[in-house]
Symmetry: C2
Subunit: 222 residues, 2 copies
């Protein structure tokens, strides 16, 4: 099977997937449940951000978490320990989530009883960007140690996200990360993106991020 045939298959999958994703968003609007798709490299801080977010807004919003992992259940155990419902999708080698997988995962929740479901996508800056999950908004984390050149190297991910969290700003003192340069690169790709600097370790920026998220949820669920 040649490279070109593989691309065709992928395009067919992508088109079917887009239709399912659009249907899911319609359903979420009816159910009044906001779904956030959170993406990043491995180790950028997705689980830590989810835990910080829960600590900040679980009093005001009814939250669920859909965890995707290739093999382990360590992240969903951490989330479940906060008392929040966590559902684990084992992707079994799949490098991304698509709409059918998310629909299957969301079936495990009582959506009418939830305002917000956060999806922790597979740690990967490439493939998850290509598959619409049906989420209402897309968020990504770039962590400072990954470097300020990532928008040049993974442009699609930065282009499709509504919000970029720049995490681990507590590492800035040890790093040559150029925040302004990085932001310029991102805004060139995606002028409408919201960029928030955070540190899940020190708590800096979590208030601003949680307010952004709560506002988006309320706007969607009315």
């Amino acid at each position: 099977m040649s490279e070109i045939q593989l691309i065709e298959i992928k395009e067919e999958i992508l088109s079917d997937n887009k239709n399912l994703a659009d249907e899911l968003r319609k359903k979420l609007k009816e159910e009044k449940t906001f779904v956030l798709n959170l993406m990043s490299s491995p180790g950028a801080g997705k689980t830590s951000l989810i835990l910080s977010t829960i600590a900040k807004i679980a009093g005001a919003l009814r939250i669920g978490v859909l965890e995707a992992d290739i093999d382990s259940i360590v992240d969903s155990e951490k989330v479940a320990s906060t008392g929040i419902q966590a559902v684990q999708l084992r992707t079994g080698g799949f490098c991304h989530l698509d709409a059918p997988m998310v629909i299957k995962g969301l079936d495990a929740f009582d959506l009418k009883a939830l305002d917000l479901v956060i999806i922790e996508n597979v740690g990967n800056l490439v493939c998850p960007a290509e598959f619409d999950t049906g989420a209402v908004k897309n968020a990504m984390i770039l962590s400072v140690p990954e470097g300020d050149d990532k928008p040049l190297k993974y442009p699609l991910m930065f282009s499709i996200c509504d919000v970029l969290l720049v995490n681990k700003i507590d590492y800035l003192s040890l790093s040559d990360f150029d925040m302004n340069e990085m932001k310029e690169r991102v805004i060139k790709l995606n002028p409408d993106i919201t960029i928030i600097e955070v540190s899940c370790k020190t708590g800096e920026g979590i208030e601003q991020w949680s307010s952004w998220l709560a506002r988006e949820v309320k706007e969607f669920i009315g």
Copy 2:
């Protein structure tokens, strides 16, 4: 198209790919050229490690670098600035390299004039682990800020590598990264792996890594 059909296609591709990879390794043995496949998450330090390695062993070995990137050419520009031949493969959305792509990339080199070609794979801990590139050895980088739980979450990558470089050890003072715990997790997956702690920033460990690599190259090319 259902999820199961996608898996079947993938397995067919994987089997064709494995045959091509085995053929490439035979050819490399005849040409007396060692190929190293270097993998990691985005921003773990692949390009920095390649630059440090070139600085250390380019006097003793004739080196080429095959760079894979989805879109940009920033890494190959950095390598080319050292005077080493760099070839850029634009993967155009593909999240990994496979044997046909590597064979195509290696065609751009005069292999008889090279002892070592280092492949910088796409920054991704998932997909590259599934595709045999035809390289003689597989290396991966885990950087300290990514966290010590990565072997639990991306077990295949840790299982298929011959050597693990633990990079950015200069960040250890700011981190709760547990080196012993991480190593135990890796050795449980892959008892034969060589683990070397490095910092491309301070140069720590680069001597040990370069010696390991030079020894492997000499053993292969005779």
